[in-house]
C-alpha cells in the first residue's frame, strides 16, 4: 500500500502560527499519531505533540482532527483517504506549541473537589450492582476532550465559572459512591458552576470511553442540587425544622465550606 496522505498540521505558539503540509505514506492500520511520529522522524523533529501510551489508556494525545476533538492514537488515518487531514490543537485551552496545549486549569479545579469521605475504613461490603454506576466514571482517562468541546469552556471562556464535564464526572464518582458521606451540593452550585451546563450532551459525543456524562453524572447531580435548594416542599420543611448548627446533614456542610 503506497497511498500518500497529506497532513496539514498546525505549527505555532501563543504568538500565532499556521498549518503546514506534510506528506506521509499510509500503512495498514495507521493512526494519526503514527503519522505525526513519521513527520517528527523524517521532516520536523521539533514538532510538538503530547503522547504517552499510544493505546488510548492515558488520554495525553488529545487534539482536533478535521474539526473534531479526538485522541490521535485512536484515530485511524485510512478514514481520511482522499481528504487533507487537518490537525490542530484543542481550542478550549491556551496553546503552548503546535499540538500541545496548557491543560493546567483542569488540575487547578480538580484540587477543589471535596474528596471521597468513607463512612468507615475499608474493607467495604459493596455489591457489583451498586458499584456499576460509579465504575462508569472510573473509565475516564482525563483526555479533556469533553472540556474542549463543552461550549461553556470552549466558546464562552467559562473556565473560571464552570469546572466542566470531566470534573462533574469526578464529583459524581465520589458523590454516588455507596460509602461516601460528604455533601457536595453547595460546592456544585456555588463553586463548580454546575448550573452553567445546559445539557447539550456535546461532551458525551466526544468521550472516547463512551461515558454518558450528561445523563449519568450531570443530570443526577443537578437533581441533587435542585432537591436541596429549589424543592419548595423541602424549603418549607427547612423553614419549620431548622437543625442545630453543624448537626445534620453531618460532615457534609463543613466539607463544602472547606472547598
Amino acid at each position: 500500500m503506497s497511498e500518500e496522505m497529506v497532513l496539514s498540521i498546525y505549527r505555532g505558539d501563543a504568538n500565532g502560527g499556521q498549518e503546514e503540509e506534510y506528506r506521509v505514506p499510509l500503512e495498514t492500520g495507521m493512526v494519526v499519531l503514527d503519522a505525526l511520529h513519521y513527520v517528527q522522524a523524517e521532516a520536523a523533529p521539533d514538532l510538538a505533540v503530547r503522547w504517552n501510551c499510544k493505546a488510548a489508556h492515558c488520554g495525553s494525545c488529545s487534539a482536533e482532527v478535521n474539526g473534531r476533538p479526538r485522541l490521535l492514537c485512536k484515530t485511524r488515518l485510512d478514514q481520511y483517504v482522499g481528504q487533507v487531514v487537518h490537525i490542530r490543537p484543542m481550542h478550549a485551552f491556551p496553546i503552548i506549541k503546535d499540538l500541545v496545549t496548557d491543560v493546567s486549569s483542569n488540575y487547578r479545579v480538580a484540587k477543589q473537589i471535596p474528596a471521597f469521605q468513607p463512612r468507615t475504613p475499608a474493607p467495604f461490603t459493596m455489591y457489583q450492582r451498586d458499584v456499576d454506576r460509579v465504575q462508569e466514571f472510573h473509565r475516564c482517562i482525563e483526555c479533556f476532550l469533553c472540556q474542549d468541546t463543552c461550549h461553556v469552556l470552549r466558546n464562552h471562556g467559562g473556565t473560571d465559572q464552570y469546572f466542566g464535564p470531566r470534573m462533574m464526572a469526578k464529583v459524581a464518582e465520589w458523590e454516588m459512591h455507596p460509602m461516601d458521606v460528604a455533601d457536595r451540593r453547595q460546592f456544585l452550585k456555588d463553586v463548580a458552576g454546575l448550573p452553567m451546563c445546559n445539557v447539550t450532551r456535546c461532551c458525551v459525543d466526544v468521550c472516547p470511553e463512551h461515558i454518558v456524562i450528561t445523563d449519568n453524572a450531570i443530570i443526577p447531580l443537578k437533581e441533587r442540587v435542585a432537591d436541596q435548594y429549589w424543592d419548595p416542599i423541602r424549603a418549607l420543611f427547612r423553614r419549620f425544622h431548622r437543625p442545630a448548627e453543624g448537626a445534620v446533614p453531618g460532615a457534609g456542610s463543613d466539607v463544602s465550606s472547606r472547598a
Binding site: N52, K54, A55, H57, I96, Y107, A122, V131
Partner: protein, 602 residues
C-alpha cells in the same frame, strides 16, 4: 558524556530557577505518587517531578490487577503462598526480604486504596473480586475490568492533589546532584514546555522513574519508559542489579504494524482465553501440562517463540489467542479495554474470533539495587521504588506483582526519605556540577551537524531487539555490545534544530543517552549469566544451573564503563526455606491436607 565544544552562551547557574524541598520524588507513576503521600504525612515539604502530565505515567497501562492474598475468593490463600509463588517464579534470585515484606503488606495497601475511593470489581458477597493469573496458586488479582492501573494511578493522583505536595508536570531530570561528600543534594532538569532549567535542592530524593522498555523495538511500554532515573543514579555512583532480566510479555498485539507490541492483558487468559498455533493445537498443554495457558510469562513467551521456530506460527509470527467461547457480555464486562482496543485499532471483534498475539518487551526486573525495608541505595539520601528498583521479581515477574510493588515500596521509600530528611541537613550544591550539566544539555543546539536523535533511537532499539532480546547467546551479545559501543560514541554528537520550547527531538537525545547506558548493563549482565533462568534465555547455555543461581550480577559505572561483579544471593532463613520443602505452595498443601482429612473422616 562531556563535550569539549562550549556553548556560545555560557550558563550562569545563579540565574537558574531553584526550589528547596525536604523530599523530592522523581516520577509520578504509582510508586512516585505513593511515595509522595507517605513522605507528605507530616511536616516535610515534598515535591513530585513528573516527566509527563499528572496521571499519564506508565502505571495507567497496567491492566490485569494487583496481586494480594486477600483470600476473598480462595480462603486458603495467604502471604506465605504468595511468597512461595513469587520466589519460585523469580527462580530464587529475588531478595527474600523484599518478597516477605511485599507479600505481608500488599493486602493492606490494596484496602487502603479502597478507603481512598478505588472501586474494585466485587464478589457476590460484596468483597473485592480476585481473578486468576499466571503462576499464582490462587485467584489473587484485585481488579477493575482490565483497567486496574488506571484505577491505581487515578486514586493516588487525587490523594496527592489533596495532600500538600507540589507537583511539577512535564519536567525532565537529567542529572542527580551530589554534594562534595557524595550525598544526595538535589536534581537538575528542565521544563519541557519552554526548555528552561530548574534545580530542585533536596535533603533526600526518591527515584520512581520506572523501566526502560523503550530500548526495544517491540514494546508495551509508553514513550516515558526510557530508564532516566536508573541511568542518572548509575552514573552518579548507584549500583544496578539483575539487568539481564528483561521480561517479555507473551501476549502483545502483532497486527497492524502501528500497534505491534501493544499489551494484551494476561487477564484474557485469566478469564479463560486459550492459545492455539496455526494447526489449531493448544500448544501450552505440551509446554506446561499443569498450568497450561496460565504458566509463568517466561514460559509462555518462549513457547510461542518455539512454535514459530517450528513453523507453526500465525501469519504475522505469533499465536492465536481465543476468548470467543465465552459469552460476549462477559468478555465486554471483564475485558472492556481489550474489546475496544481490538475493534478500533485492528478491526477484530474478540467476542467473535481469535486474534494474533506475540511476545512484547514489558518490564525490567533489574534496576537500582536497594535495601529491602527502605529502598535506600548506596548513595546517601537516594531512595528508589517501583520498576526502577530491583529485588522483588528475581528472574521473572509474576503478573499483578508490579502494581503491588509500587504501593508497598513506594510507601516505604517515601517514609524512609522523610525520615532521612528529618535527620540530615541540605547538602551544598556544587556550581561546577550544574554548569557542566547545563552546557551538556544545551550542546546539541550548538552543533551544526551531527547525529539525528530519532535515527539513533531506532538503531538502539534494533540492536537491543536483535542481540539482547528474548533469545541470546555469546555471539549475539558480543555483536550487540560492539554495535552499542559504537552507538554510544556517536551519541555524543547528536544535533537538534528548532528552539528549546517543547522540542521532542531534543528530549529524545536524553532518552537515547539513558538507554545506551542501561543497554550496556543489560548486555554485560546477560554475558555474565552463562545459563538460562527465567526471562533470560541463552541458546548456548540452555539449562538453569544451580551454581549460577547463587549469584546476582551487580553493575557499577567506573570511568565511563559498566563493570560487572557477582554478589551472592541472600540465603533464606530456615523458617522461609522450609516453605519450599515440598513441590507445592503452602496454601495448596493446606487445601490438599484438609481434603485428605475430610476424605479420611467419611
Amino acid at each position: 558524556m562531556t563535550t569539549n565544544k562550549k556553548s556560545s552562551s555560557n550558563v550562569n547557574v545563579e540565574t537558574i530557577e531553584r526550589h528547596q524541598y525536604d523530599v523530592v520524588i522523581v516520577g509520578a507513576g504509582g510508586a512516585g505518587l505513593r511515595a509522595a503521600i507517605a513522605a507528605a504525612d507530616g511536616q516535610a515539604k515534598v515535591a513530585v517531578i513528573s516527566k509527563s502530565l499528572l496521571g499519564k505515567a506508565h502505571t495507567v497501562m497496567a491492566e490485569g490487577g494487583v496481586a494480594a492474598s486477600l483470600g476473598n475468593v480462595d480462603a486458603d490463600d495467604s502471604w506465605d503462598t504468595h511468597f512461595y509463588d513469587t520466589m519460585k517464579s523469580g527462580h530464587f534470585i529475588n531478595n527474600y526480604e523484599v518478597v516477605e515484606l511485599y507479600t505481608k503488606e500488599v493486602a493492606d495497601r490494596v484496602l487502603e486504596l479502597e478507603s481512598w475511593g478505588a472501586v474494585f470489581d466485587r464478589t457476590p458477597v460484596g468483597k473485592i473480586m480476585q481473578r486468576p493469573f499466571g503462576a499464582h496458586s490462587f485467584r489473587r488479582l484485585a481488579h477493575i475490568g482490565d483497567r486496574t492501573g488506571k484505577e491505581l494511578i487515578r486514586t493516588l493522583q487525587y490523594q496527592v492533589i489533596h495532600h500538600s505536595v507540589d507537583v511539577f508536570q512535564e519536567v525532565t531530570t537529567t542529572r542527580l546532584l551530589l554534594d562534595k561528600e557524595g550525598r544526595t543534594a538535589g536534581v537538575f532538569g528542565y521544563y519541557r514546555e519552554d526548555g528552561r532549567f530548574v534545580i530542585f535542592q533536596a535533603k533526600s530524593v526518591v527515584l520512581a522513574t520506572g523501566g526502560f522498555g523503550k530500548a526495544y523495538k517491540v514494546t508495551s511500554n509508553s514513550w516515558e519508559s526510557t530508564g532516566d532515573g536508573a541511568a542518572m543514579a548509575f552514573q552518579a555512583g548507584a549500583e544496578l542489579m539483575d539487568m539481564e532480566m528483561v521480561q517479555f510479555h507473551p501476549t502483545g498485539m502483532v497486527w497492524p504494524p502501528g500497534v505491534r507490541g501493544l499489551l494484551v492483558t494476561e487477564g484474557v487468559r485469566g478469564e479463560g482465553g486459550l492459545l492455539y498455533n496455526s494447526q489449531h493445537e493448544r500448544f501450552m498443554l505440551r509446554y506446561d501440562p499443569v498450568l497450561h495457558e496460565l504458566s509463568s510469562r517466561d514460559v509462555v513467551a518462549r513457547s510461542i517463540y518455539k512454535e514459530n521456530l517450528a513453523g507453526r506460527g500465525t501469519p504475522h509470527g505469533g499465536a492465536w489467542l481465543d476468548i470467543s467461547h465465552l459469552p460476549a457480555a462477559v468478555v465486554k464486562s471483564k475485558l472492556p479495554g481489550m474489546y475496544e482496543q481490538f475493534l478500533s485499532l485492528a478491526d477484530v471483534d474478540i467476542t467473535k474470533e481469535a486474534f494474533e498475539v506475540a511476545p512484547t518487551t514489558h518490564y525490567a526486573m533489574g534496576g537500582i539495587r536497594v535495601e529491602a525495608a527502605t529502598g535506600a541505595t548506596n548513595i546517601p539520601g537516594l531512595f528508589a521504588a517501583g520498576e526502577v528498583a530491583c529485588g522483588l521479581h528475581g528472574a521473572n515477574r509474576l503478573g499483578g506483582n508490579s502494581l503491588g510493588d509500587i504501593l508497598v515500596f513506594g510507601r516505604r521509600a517515601g517514609m524512609a526519605a522523610r525520615a532521612y530528611a528529618d535527620d540530615h541537613d541540605q547538602g551544598d550544591l556544587m556550581s561546577g556540577q550544574m554548569e557542566d550539566e547545563a552546557q551538556r544539555v544545551l550542546a546539541p543546539f550548538s552543533r551544526t551537524q551531527g547525529e539525528r536523535p530519532y535515527q539513533l533511537m531506532a538503531e538502539l532499539q534494533e540492536i537491543m531487539t536483535n542481540y539482547a532480546g528474548m533469545v541470546r547467546s555469546r555471539d549475539t551479545l558480543e555483536t550487540g555490545l560492539e554495535q552499542l559501543k559504537t552507538l554510544q560514541e556517536r551519541s555524543t554528537r547528536m544535533v537538534i534544530s528548532g528552539s528549546r520550547a517543547y522540542n521532542p527531538g531534543w528530549h529524545t537525545i536524553f532518552d537515547v543517552q539513558s538507554m545506551l547506558v542501561l543497554g550496556e548493563a543489560v548486555i554485560r549482565g546477560a554475558l555474565a549469566r552463562e545459563e538460562s533462568r527465567g526471562a533470560h534465555w541463552r541458546t548456548d547455555f540452555p539449562e538453569e544451573l544451580p551454581e549460577m543461581g547463587a549469584w546476582n550480577f551487580v553493575h557499577t559505572f567506573q570511568e565511563g564503563t559498566v563493570v560487572v561483579r557477582a554478589d551472592p544471593v541472600p540465603a533464606m532463613p530456615d523458617r522461609l526455606a522450609r516453605l519450599f520443602e515440598s513441590n507445592q505452595s503452602p496454601g495448596i498443601l493446606r487445601k490438599q491436607q484438609r481434603a485428605a482429612r475430610r476424605g479420611g473422616d467419611s
